[in-house]
């Protein structure tokens, strides 16, 4: 019995004090990179076509999206603008509404990205393009995935 009994020396516990820091770092990374999905898809998720000559879309705030695809249990291609199924004629109002949210000098830079299903008809796309031409929204982008084009035709 002694007051100065030797303390047993085990392996010292690893300090977890810096764990929050690490986790916070990851957290900030994901917070910054995350993009909340703005619209809920009413159509079936379009299977985008593949292409190799693709360009990245810069400045996402200048991009408005038009979805084209099928609706469960209904025939024909449907167009989705914001969060509802719409008619081709509504495309112009959609673009006008998009323009409202941007300043004057950004309007020529606005791009319309068409996210269309691989099985859609070109006719539907052309109708959209025609509407866009009518209101002078000329910059468009056919949204595609990177991949071999031969996968488009099966």
């Amino acid at each position: 019995m002694s007051k100065f009994r030797k303390k047993k020396k085990g392996t010292p516990a690893i300090s977890t004090a810096s764990l929050p820091d690490i986790v916070f770092m990851l957290l900030f990374f994901f917070m910054v990179t995350t993009v909340m999905r703005e619209t809920e898809l009413k159509i079936k998720k379009p299977q985008l076509p593949f292409a190799t000559e693709v360009k990245k879309l810069e400045r996402k705030s200048l991009v408005s999206y038009i979805y084209v695809g099928k609706v469960e249990g209904q025939g024909g291609d449907k167009i989705q603008l914001n969060d509802r199924i719409a008619d081709v004629k509504d495309v112009k109002y959609f673009i006008f509404a998009e323009r409202e949210t941007h300043s004057e000098d950004e309007i020529p830079l606005l791009t319309t990205s068409i996210k269309a299903d691989i099985k859609s008809n070109v006719g539907t796309i052309t109708d959209i393009k025609e509407e866009l031409r009518n209101i002078n929204a000329l910059k468009i982008n056919y949204s595609t995935l990177k991949g071999d084009v031969m996968k488009n035709i099966k």
Binding site: T34, P49, V54, V122, T126, K139, N141, Y142, T144, I153
Partner: protein
């Protein structure tokens, strides 16, 4: 007597809170980058516009995709998608005649001249000059979007290949690399190089309205 200070707040659960948030953002995050084929639509012409200038048939390369997704080139040859790129390149790069007048780097007008950077066959029955060569893509309303994009991709690819080749010859790096460099460290000389390549192989693809 030792003074009792405020007890320290236990920060041990900080990690848990952070983890919770982390997991939330991990789940909601979508890392997809939006990529696609960019196009500029032609402006709407007024009703009373003058008739467009007549084009020589040999300067137009017509690709037709019908409702069965068959591809017809120049109205006579059936083709599979993987052949289009070569065929389009041959057409653009033919250089069989005199092109439209161009401007040099200083903006002075140059005489209309032959295409001295083309390596094509110089077939008089094919396109005169890359700046006269027009690719017209005709489609049917019933064509599937996948095929349409595949053909578009091949046509854009033909231009990219030619631009890459020319850029490699002139500057030792590919056009794609030039674009990448210009994005990372923009400079006037890079811009001029890109512009030069672009005017030598201007991308002229017309998307005709589909037949009803």
């Amino acid at each position: 007597m030792a003074r009792r200070g405020l007890p320290e707040i236990n920060a041990g659960s900080m990690a848990d809170i952070a983890f919770l948030l982390l997991i939330f953002f991990l789940v909601t995050t979508t890392m997809d980058v939006d990529t696609g084929i960019s196009r500029k639509l032609p402006e709407k012409q007024p009703e009373d516009r003058p008739d467009p200038p007549k084009l020589k048939e040999k300067n137009v390369f017509i690709v037709t995709v019908n409702r069965n997704n068959d591809i017809l080139v120049e109205g006579e040859t059936f083709m599979t998608i993987d052949k289009i790129r070569e065929e389009a390149k041959k057409f653009i790069d033919n250089g069989g005649g005199i092109g439209n007048p161009m401007k040099d780097a200083q903006g002075n007008s140059l005489e209309a001249a032959e295409c001295d950077w083309c390596e094509g066959e110089k077939n008089p029955a094919s396109s005169d000059h890359p700046n006269k060569a027009i690719i017209s893509l005709e489609s049917d309303r019933g064509t599937s979007y996948g095929t349409y994009i595949a053909v578009q991709n091949e046509l854009v690819g033909a231009y990219t290949d030619l631009r890459n080749r020319l850029s490699k010859k002139l500057y030792g790096v590919t056009y794609t690399q030039l674009l990448k460099d210009a994005k990372n460290s923009p400079s006037q000389s890079l811009k001029d190089k890109i512009k030069n390549i672009k005017t030598k192989y201007p991308q002229i693809i017309s998307e005709a309205e589909p037949k009803k």
